[in-house]
C-alpha cells in the first residue's frame, strides 16, 4: 500500500512537521467528529487551504491526506445515511447493512493505520507515497506551481 520513495529534494525540519500535521489533523478530527463523516474532511480541507502556498513537500502531503479523506467520505456518508434511514424510516437492519458497516470499518481502519504510519514517517522527513493516492497526488500537485 505504501512506498517510501525519495522526494525530489530533502525536506527541512519545519516542512516535515507541517506535512505530518496534515495527517494528524484528519486523525484528531476523525476522533472528535466520529458519528459525522464530514468533519474530518472539513478539517483536512481547511489545513489544505491554509497550506496552499506552502512548500512543495507540505503541499504534496496535504493533498494526499485530503484525497484519502475524500474517498472515505463517500463510504462513510453512505453508511451514515443508511443508518439514519434504519432509525427513522421503515428500513430494517439486514445482513447487507451489517456487511457494509464491517467493510466500511475495515477500510476506515486501514486508512487510520496508514495515516498514523505516514504521519510518523513524514515527521522524520521520509516521503511516503500511497498506492493509488500517491499517483493521484503526483498528478494534481506540481512542483513549479
Amino acid at each position: 500500500m505504501k512506498n517510501a520513495t525519495k522526494f525530489i529534494y530533502e525536506p527541512g525540519e519545519h516542512e516535515s512537521e507541517k506535512a505530518s500535521n496534515s495527517y494528524l489533523m484528519s486523525l484528531i478530527a476523525l476522533i472528535a467528529g466520529l458519528p459525522l463523516p464530514i468533519i474530518n474532511l472539513i478539517a483536512t480541507l481547511i489545513f489544505y487551504l491554509g497550506n496552499r502556498k506552502g512548500t512543495y513537500f507540505v503541499r504534496w502531503h496535504c493533498t494526499q491526506a485530503l484525497l484519502s479523506q475524500l474517498s472515505m467520505l463517500f463510504i462513510n456518508s453512505f453508511g451514515f445515511w443508511w443508518t439514519v434511514s434504519i432509525i427513522f424510516t421503515d428500513d430494517t437492519i439486514s445482513d447487507k447493512y451489517i456487511a457494509y458497516m464491517i467493510a466500511a470499518l475495515i477500510f476506515n481502519l486501514t486508512e487510520f493505520i496508514a495515516t498514523i504510519y505516514t504521519a510518523i514517517q513524514t515527521r522524520k522527513g521520509i516521503h511516503v507515497e500511497w498506492w493509488f493516492y500517491g499517483n493521484l497526488t503526483n498528478l494534481i500537485c506540481k512542483a513549479e506551481a
Binding site: S71, T92, I98, Y100, F132, L139
Partner: protein, 265 residues
C-alpha cells in the same frame, strides 16, 4: 493516467467484493437480531391480545369459529402461508373493524362480518390484514411509533400497563401509512386471486363503505382509519383486471348465512 484509473477501479472493486463477501454471512443470526425481534414480537402480541381478551367479549361459537377458520386455512394453503402463524379471533362488537396485532394475531369484529353483503367482502378485509402480518407491517409500525426500547421494556414487565393498553388500542384504531396500505391491498388481491376468490367485492366493500362515511356513523372504524377508500377501490379493480380465473366460494351460501345468524344471537 491510465495506471491511476486502473488503481482507482481496483480499490472500488476491492470494497464492493469485500462487502459482497461479507453479505454472504448470516450476520442477523450471529448478532441474534432476529431472535431478539422474534421474542419481542411474540411477547408483545400476547400482551396486546390479553388486553382485548379482557376488555372485549370473544365469540367462541364453534360454528362461527370453524367457518372463519376454514376461510383462513383456505387462504393460507393457497398462498403458502404458515397457517399456525395466523391466530384469528372474533370479538362481539358492532364496529366494522379488523386489525392485526404482532405475532400473527388477527382480530375481526362481528360488526365487520354482519355488514359484509357476501363472504368475499369479508375475506378481502381478512386478506388485507393477513398481508399486513406477512409483510411485517405491524412491527414496523410499532418500531416507528413507540420505538424498540419501549417495546422491550413492555415485554420485560417494566412498561406501564396504561402504556401497553394505549399502544394496543392504537393498533386497532389507526391505519398504516399510505404506501403500506397500498402494498397490503395489492398483496390481498394476490391472495384472493390465488385462492380463486373474486377480488371485486373487496373493492365494492370499500366503495360501499366510503359512501357510508358521510353518515358519520361511529361504527366505521376500519374505514375511517383507512383513508381514501374510493381511491383504494379503484386501484384494486385496476390491479385485478385481466386476471381471468374461474372464481369460487370458500363457504357454502347456507354456511355464510348461518354464521351471520349465529353472530346476531
Amino acid at each position: 493516467m491510465k495506471k491511476i484509473i486502473i488503481q482507482g477501479v481496483i480499490i472500488i472493486a476491492l470494497f464492493i467484493s469485500i462487502w459482497f463477501t461479507l453479505t454472504q454471512i448470516n450476520w442477523l443470526t450471529i448478532f441474534k437480531v432476529q431472535k431478539i425481534t422474534d421474542n419481542t414480537e411474540q411477547k408483545i402480541g400476547e400482551l396486546f391480545w390479553e388486553i382485548f381478551q379482557k376488555t372485549e367479549k370473544e365469540n367462541t361459537n364453534p360454528f362461527v369459529v370453524a367457518s372463519v377458520d376454514s376461510i383462513v386455512t383456505k387462504i393460507c394453503s393457497s398462498n403458502n402461508i404458515d397457517r399456525e402463524l395466523i391466530k384469528i379471533h372474533i370479538l362481539d362488537k358492532d364496529d366494522i373493524n379488523a386489525f392485526a396485532l404482532p405475532n400473527g394475531y388477527l382480530i375481526v369484529y362481528s360488526g365487520l362480518i354482519l355488514n359484509s353483503d357476501n363472504q368475499e367482502e369479508m375475506i378481502g378485509v381478512v386478506c388485507h390484514e393477513i398481508a399486513h402480518i406477512q409483510l411485517n407491517h405491524v412491527m414496523k409500525k410499532l418500531l416507528k411509533e413507540v420505538g424498540l426500547s419501549v417495546l422491550i421494556s413492555m415485554t420485560t414487565g417494566n412498561g406501564s400497563s396504561e402504556n401497553i393498553r394505549e399502544t394496543a388500542k392504537m393498533l386497532s384504531s389507526s391505519a398504516f401509512d399510505r404506501n403500506l396500505e397500498k402494498e397490503a391491498d395489492i398483496k390481498a388481491v394476490d391472495y384472493l386471486v390465488k385462492a380463486k376468490i373474486n377480488p371485486e367485492p373487496f373493492a365494492n366493500f370499500l366503495y360501499k363503505i366510503s359512501e357510508m362515511e358521510n353518515d358519520a356513523t361511529k361504527y366505521l372504524t376500519w374505514i375511517s382509519n383507512h383513508p381514501e377508500s374510493k381511491e383504494r377501490a379503484e386501484y384494486i379493480i385496476e390491479y385485478s383486471k385481466g386476471k381471468k380465473i374461474k372464481y369460487e366460494s370458500i363457504l357454502a351460501i347456507g354456511t355464510w348465512d348461518k354464521m351471520k345468524e349465529k353472530l346476531r344471537e
